[in-house]
Symmetry: C2
Subunit: 580 residues, 2 copies
Amino acid sequence: MRRSVLLFDGALQAFRRSPTYSQLLIFFAVSGGGLVAYADGKSENEELNLSQMPARKKVVVLGTGWAGTSFLKNIDSVTYDVQVVSPRNYFTFTPLLPSVTCGTVEARSIVEPIRKIIKKKKGEIKFWDGECLKIDPVNKQIHCLPCVVPNSDGGGEFIIGYDYLVIAVGARVNTFNTPGVLEHCHFLKEVEDAQNIRKDVMLCFERANLPNIDEKEREKDLHFVIVGGGPTGVEFAAELHDFITEDLAELYPKIKDLVKISLIQSGEHILNMFDERIGNFAEKKFQRDGIEVKTGFRVVKVSDKAITMKSKSVGEVSESYGMAVWSTGIATRPVILDFMKQIGQANRRVLATNEWLRVCGCQDVYALGDCATIDQRKVMEDISAIFRVADKDNSGTLTVKEIQDVLEDIYVRYPQVELYLKTKQMSDVLDLLIDGKADAAKASIEINIEEFKKALANVDSQVKTLPATAQVAAQQGHYLAQCFNKIKACEDNPEGPLRMTEPGRHRFKPFRYKHFGQFAPLGGEQAAAQLPGDWISTGHSTQWLWYSVYASKQVSWRTRVLVVSDWLKRAIFGRDSSCI
Amino acid sequence: MRRSVLLFDGALQAFRRSPTYSQLLIFFAVSGGGLVAYADGKSENEELNLSQMPARKKVVVLGTGWAGTSFLKNIDSVTYDVQVVSPRNYFTFTPLLPSVTCGTVEARSIVEPIRKIIKKKKGEIKFWDGECLKIDPVNKQIHCLPCVVPNSDGGGEFIIGYDYLVIAVGARVNTFNTPGVLEHCHFLKEVEDAQNIRKDVMLCFERANLPNIDEKEREKDLHFVIVGGGPTGVEFAAELHDFITEDLAELYPKIKDLVKISLIQSGEHILNMFDERIGNFAEKKFQRDGIEVKTGFRVVKVSDKAITMKSKSVGEVSESYGMAVWSTGIATRPVILDFMKQIGQANRRVLATNEWLRVCGCQDVYALGDCATIDQRKVMEDISAIFRVADKDNSGTLTVKEIQDVLEDIYVRYPQVELYLKTKQMSDVLDLLIDGKADAAKASIEINIEEFKKALANVDSQVKTLPATAQVAAQQGHYLAQCFNKIKACEDNPEGPLRMTEPGRHRFKPFRYKHFGQFAPLGGEQAAAQLPGDWISTGHSTQWLWYSVYASKQVSWRTRVLVVSDWLKRAIFGRDSSCI
């Protein structure tokens, strides 16, 4: 409880300060995308390719989401000529998208024009409204399609050259090639999605209320199906339930009892990226609320009238529905898939970067946020090199002193080592290397390459991929901008770990994600949260924590005031049920 | 000035009270639709066809605009079984639509769910979300198409029977069959129109800002054309100018000087439904603001790139444009045109009602608001009947006493008589009848039918058609509901004027419009207003009057709080420029 109070205080203090993106560490998760293990021989040339820096280098950023905006807020736009290309001229505070679907918060309250954000910077940042269609890493340029304007022929594509490219285009929805999903389901990734859902919920109610249709059709119209039991799907189900019970039941008294909300989850539990206790709490709450949670079901087909799913125990079943929201995970955008082909990553599903966020197999291109994953270098790939670097006297064996000298560098370069030690409840890699030997003997022990390999053989099992969350994206944007900003200083005084395959040190420390916790709002003024240290909090107080944190983390005072006043508005007047 | 202060006080008091629709007398105009004179032999059977009233009579209302909503708020829904059909499940405060186009006010702030409005009534009112496709006056039923729901086959039409039908479907936009208007122009009648305009203004700016287009194309993209110099067009031009100078100029510094706003008006002056002084004031203000007012131009064609117009002095000219808004007037909806054919009004352009709002040539059907006009009975059509009714002793001549006895009834039945006397600066119809004769002789004068006809020969020149404004629609809704409510009382004690062609009195007084004034906001915190008695007010104080009146006239406390907080929000944070 103490930690909760501290966090709450911190949130309130942050609310009083104007937030900067560097503090944007949002407690929530987008359902994670698939990931495939990937390994190839990579150059250690991972950081910014400096080469003397004449005049202002051109940095082109793709995207205005969490990663892109965080980068823009932190990049030194005096030193660099920064340009941004995005089909959206605004930043969206995506964690509040589920609230927009039912009018708890208005769409305009969670967006901030990107021009307002970049106008605050010292140096000018240019914004171009368009979508990147092709990345050409050979000629160092990108091809973009301008935004669509009525009464214009579109004007054809425009091309922008770059010295450094920062890809932060996010991901697209993953339908897992399920037939009918694109045609019949709503998604919940963009502001427009949330607005469309809001309108369609009302249309379903209006239709079910018409005089000439039978009970069965009314039930169909009022069956709301959510596919995907991740935080987004769960929060939408909760919002919808609140909207119906708190606002619509009164306005549609005759059909309110026909409403059914179904949450379909392929796994055994919903919210399975959280601690089990949270999933259980959510399932129990949903059961009390009458939200049907169907776990172990995989949707195999969606038609205009029914949604077909399969489970091991029941087999295939079809259910008619009025509206369906698909929220099962993310996939790579076509422009990135095309780029991956060009740079030899064709056999991967997600764009890989090294630990410094540089795209593997490509110079001067960086990728962050949901469009890429960090391909953590394995210890066992470098094991001989590590041994060589540690073995300063070239004796063929390592002394404890020699090991201690490179320990910090190993921890920084290979975070899986520390994680592995944690699972073994060891405090030091030495414990692993000289495990079982008497303490007294430690100082004189020498370890050969085979012993070294054997001791570290399993550490790579702890290589973790980061979740596709706003929190990760925002931290990556901040990290990369800092690297760009301190490139000159780090050229002279590298702050990174020892290079293993080349002499010298890495200029920068690799990116390290700091997890600040994650929320799952469950409706009825209740929420669940998993805070750092796997500390679990559920119930009404957690909802208040949620309010505080989300208010404090807004990108501008405008959105902060609007979001808070939307909450007040809802509390006083309820949610609007107009079909607009 | 005194009147202005009084009105201001009144507005503030009204703001403190919860408003009822009966007070909704809004000070603004929708550009007036065309009207054609129409006369046929009409029955005097104009009022509610009572016939004993068994159980609850079914009153079906079409539309949830000003007229329909005002009727719903005032009808006694305990006595009547009231049902409403509309494709919009909300009421829109249309005078603020121009403010929504640029984000001065949010769309959600000016709409109120119709279910919330009717829920406050004692008796239940049913709402069906659908569009009336056909009125069948023979079988007394209407055919409706349900609202469109995704993932449904539409469900086919539904039919509703009625005892009384109240048509308040409003009007559609009048393109005057100008080619290209439907395809390439925005309108400004619905909330969606305003939202689309807002998005397209931003897209035009984003496109004009792209790196690869030439100066000429930028100028094209930033040329905003408004066709129609009525209150709506003028207010939109003013809003757009404010949005650009107050918000966008700062965010788009490089292209801000390329912006051009053109207001095209076919007449010699803009705002020509107002006093000339207001038109002049507006034109001068727009000139200072750099808004080009092109008077005397008629648009003859709109293509995707250019708008072609004609004037007597210049001939035909074409101008390229980025966005065009068409706001020239209203026309009759197809469902009403079809209905007019069925009831013998096929040769008219607008549905005609009598002075009690009953549709001419049809029993138990009433029409109000923009979808109909009142066909004021002419004095000269009834002149012999009037003479007969007045000539109680059947002497073939009228004494002054006899005339005085029917004077009040003539004033009520034929309001043009009073208007005519006003233009002649006479106080009494007697002045007209015995004009030129010595006062002393008055008492003994007798007037024959020829003298009577001659004296009243020109009074019908003062027959006025009402403007297509919210103010008129709201008053008509209130009036008709009151008639329905007091039908039993008036059966016994008719309160209307003498019938001229039949014995007895009319049960109700005919509808009489009370003009409370009209505003024209001109941007830059300035407005013009024409108040009752042709009192003119312009400038900043008028804008404050506008704020007070519009805040006070909101349909609910919710919208009132939202509209006022939107104004505050704009003053503090400016308008949002996100393309959503």
